[in-house]
Symmetry: C2
Subunit: 317 residues, 2 copies
Amino acid sequence: MYMDCLQYVAPSRRVFEQMRQGAVDAVHITVGYHEDFDQVVQNLANWNQWFETCGDLIARATCTDDILAAQKAGKTAIFFGLQNPLPLGTDLGRVQVLHQLGIRFCQVTYNQQSLLGAGCFESHDGGLTDFGREAVAEMNRVGMVIDLSHASPKTCLQTIETSTRPVAVTHANPWDWRNVPRNLKADVLDALFDRGGMLGFSLYPHHLKDGSDCTLDQFATMVRTLVDQYSASHFGIGSDLCQDQPDSVVQWMRNGHWRKSPDLTATFPTPPSWFTDNRDFPGLAQGLRDAGLTDGAVAGVLGQNWFDFLQKAFAPR
Amino acid sequence: MYMDCLQYVAPSRRVFEQMRQGAVDAVHITVGYHEDFDQVVQNLANWNQWFETCGDLIARATCTDDILAAQKAGKTAIFFGLQNPLPLGTDLGRVQVLHQLGIRFCQVTYNQQSLLGAGCFESHDGGLTDFGREAVAEMNRVGMVIDLSHASPKTCLQTIETSTRPVAVTHANPWDWRNVPRNLKADVLDALFDRGGMLGFSLYPHHLKDGSDCTLDQFATMVRTLVDQYSASHFGIGSDLCQDQPDSVVQWMRNGHWRKSPDLTATFPTPPSWFTDNRDFPGLAQGLRDAGLTDGAVAGVLGQNWFDFLQKAFAPR
């Protein structure tokens, strides 16, 4: 079973066909960066159209049984998540409402300060807010996975400590391998895994050693090192694949509408040659095997570990 | 000229008649605590109805000339403000849109963490956020008064320092007189006045020495002390009058929808006997005179200072 726990592909029949060609059984798709509640609903409505027109290739999923059913039917299960808690506003009740709409992952923040916590690019790292603590408890209750990607170190540590369920970092890499604010230092990794959390390895060039030039061997060796240090069971893939998105999208990701002088120079980095779309999953498996991972570890990292984690994480209290 | 720079009265013809009986020329009315953008628009639409049905008593105001015109016509000018920047979302462009809708005051936060800064009841005082700095600059540009009521000490100090225009605390008192988180310590007052800022004295019992039992003499003596210490020109009134609101409103003010276990025991405190509605403004003037304020200082504190401040503050850059 292959599962990718973070993509922001521009949906198209072609992309869904590639998911099938790559034998990808499940994908977590982002439906909100800077969107407010209404705009997230619109994104979900757009996806409902894709399920209708491409129902031979993809299926909407809200639980792990949906993955098994999709797998059996030869389809890719699509889960939804938010990279920003903005659609919650300050209304705790919207956690459950968003869950009822199918949202299964929610980041505590996206880069900057949110109402829940500080982001990895925010000047002051204030950690989890009072409302953040309420939201964590509510996400724990309804079975929405708390995603600490893009959060600040203090926010990560306090959320891991506060959450009564294991949390996830769906897409990031170790800071020791590539020292950028989006990657995680050892103390955060230690705390995350101590509490049963998951890390999805990112394939986004900014998170990779040597960026776009990172080789599959470099990546796989890093995975091997982490698996040896901790346990394979804590790891999965969150590729951060942004296939077919125009550069205006990365500019919007970076700036939203919160800056008077947005950075309009940003462009999507060239993906590594060995991971440009969903068809590259089998190659990824081979790379991990070549780096010395056992077949069991490869199967775990490429899908089974996320499946096992989500099976528990999605169950409501 | 009498001006009250913060009220949350339940609008009614009776209340507007009392404004006229008290010779109150202008009132800043709150149209948002925990409301999102759409809900603020709805509140403004409701007020438009009041302007239509009670146009003989009140007039919508967006500049100080509107106050003079209302005064000439024997009406009370009504300004609007937000006690929470939530309707901005993370969209800097909404500062100007809200200004175009008539919003002339905006708090940096309401008690807890906002996307702009920390509130006076938030556990961690992280000060002004990166987006907060952008929003301050934009409010400075369009001529929206930054209101630091309900903000944390660090947020107050950083906003005062960041803002290129004098800012206001529309409704609070000195912490040295009544030590509650909503009142201001001397360092904040010093910084506020050093940069030309204004403080509106609050008449809300929780901000008064001895609460509901605070006497007019106690209040007026505190005002006299502050006027002597700084200068009368920095002070006005922001009564925080919440006349005719049911207790469900104070529970909603306190809890919004962000807490799983809201405090539902809150009730509105009994107002001091000498300030229960807008007809008490002349009595307030007498109290201040009795405490030894000059006629000029009384006129300044009860209205002219706000007028002079707003004349500059509302002018766009």
